[in-house]
Symmetry: C2
Subunit: 269 residues, 2 copies
Amino acid sequence: MSDATAPHPFDDALELERLSPGTYIGRTSAPYNNMVGPFGGLTAATFIRAIERHPDRLGDPISLTINFAGPVAEGEFEITTRAVRTNRSNQHWYLELSQNGEIATTATAVFGKRRETWDDDEATAPAAPAPSELELGGFPEFIAWARNYEMRFAAGALSEEKSEDSTITLWVRDTPSRPLDFASLTSIADIFYPRVFQRLGTYVPAGTISLTIHYFATAEDLKTQADSYVLAHAQSRRFHKGYFDQSAELWGSDEKLLATSHQVVYYKV
Amino acid sequence: MSDATAPHPFDDALELERLSPGTYIGRTSAPYNNMVGPFGGLTAATFIRAIERHPDRLGDPISLTINFAGPVAEGEFEITTRAVRTNRSNQHWYLELSQNGEIATTATAVFGKRRETWDDDEATAPAAPAPSELELGGFPEFIAWARNYEMRFAAGALSEEKSEDSTITLWVRDTPSRPLDFASLTSIADIFYPRVFQRLGTYVPAGTISLTIHYFATAEDLKTQADSYVLAHAQSRRFHKGYFDQSAELWGSDEKLLATSHQVVYYKV
């Protein structure tokens, strides 16, 4: 059904017009809208893409922290990127997303070159049936962005049952399929619905305040992954006086850890 | 032995001279030096203190991400703090630490007010013997900052043995004792020596690139904690091509989670 000559909706959504080196105009994309405003994972991916397009960019993503300071309205936004400091093997960035002169989102990022080292995979991937053994799941129709992801839940599918456990484990990939790159890995790091919904079996007001992603995968690792499923796993530790945490792991199809993400989420119950 | 009228060395080290609202001059403090430059936990704490001293500050720390962009030399440094956006219940900050006009460290922080909500402690504290059952441990004499902490290791004491497991668990508190506040909690979030040392049983070049702290404790929770031991626990997931991660939990003496920290660390082996 997809037009092979048209760009993937994800690449469409990430499109940026360059005003000057480091300053870009973007536009919210209806297919990646959340209930209110754009999907946070897409905004994070847009920051990564903005740095990737910067002529002075050194290396690939090592870490990103994005702070959701205010709502993003439908329409145009401006992104500014500033290389705060460039070292021999890494580079530190500060970014802002604004609309009508008001800052809606900030971020810091570290990009860097990687080198051969002593390596070890200490953590192991969570147990999960193969994607083919799991039914296609998803979110309600009104969560537009979720329709761009094929999701097969091993644990934590949306439910109206209360749960004592916030653990969610699912296989996920873009649909239509698309080879994984740093931008789409970034977006998938925010794929989980708020863990408080799972605990309470109901929607409550909740929104990510700050999201940190640590990248392990190199560009070569992403080539190996290609458009295969990512095993995405997340859990919360504590819900306390209006904020809860969520730590997530994103595993490649070869059981290698591609990235982790850690967020703090506002909630009201 | 301590002079009851003198400020605690930690408060000494955090002292800031205000140049203008939001701009401060600080000075590195020999008792909190690391092998090269200041202890990263102290720099993180200094950022928290700088925001706390800002006349426009709203609420208490919710999250902090600090990026170690370059070395900090002994002597004076300047910290600038900017409230990027202030909402009704939270506030977003961007901070820089510079020396001679060159940026050495950046940070973003979210401060906020907390409210009564449905709360739950989902994670549980790691098992560890009581502090009184563990011997006093520590770091080698040349790691100055470590002498300001009483450390009692349940797992992961410094050793020249290789280990298959990066897990470290210790009871820690300031010495001389000092009631826990947000600044000292921040500093303790970086108390762990690089996990790669533990895995390899030897020192290798390593340094934190980016450190994120998520705060659960309220000011009242910290009052309850007072100067009791904090149970600090950390582990790495993956060591890959020059970078590894470390996630940490800081538990109060009442088995409540006070904060988590997540860092990405550069290494060369």
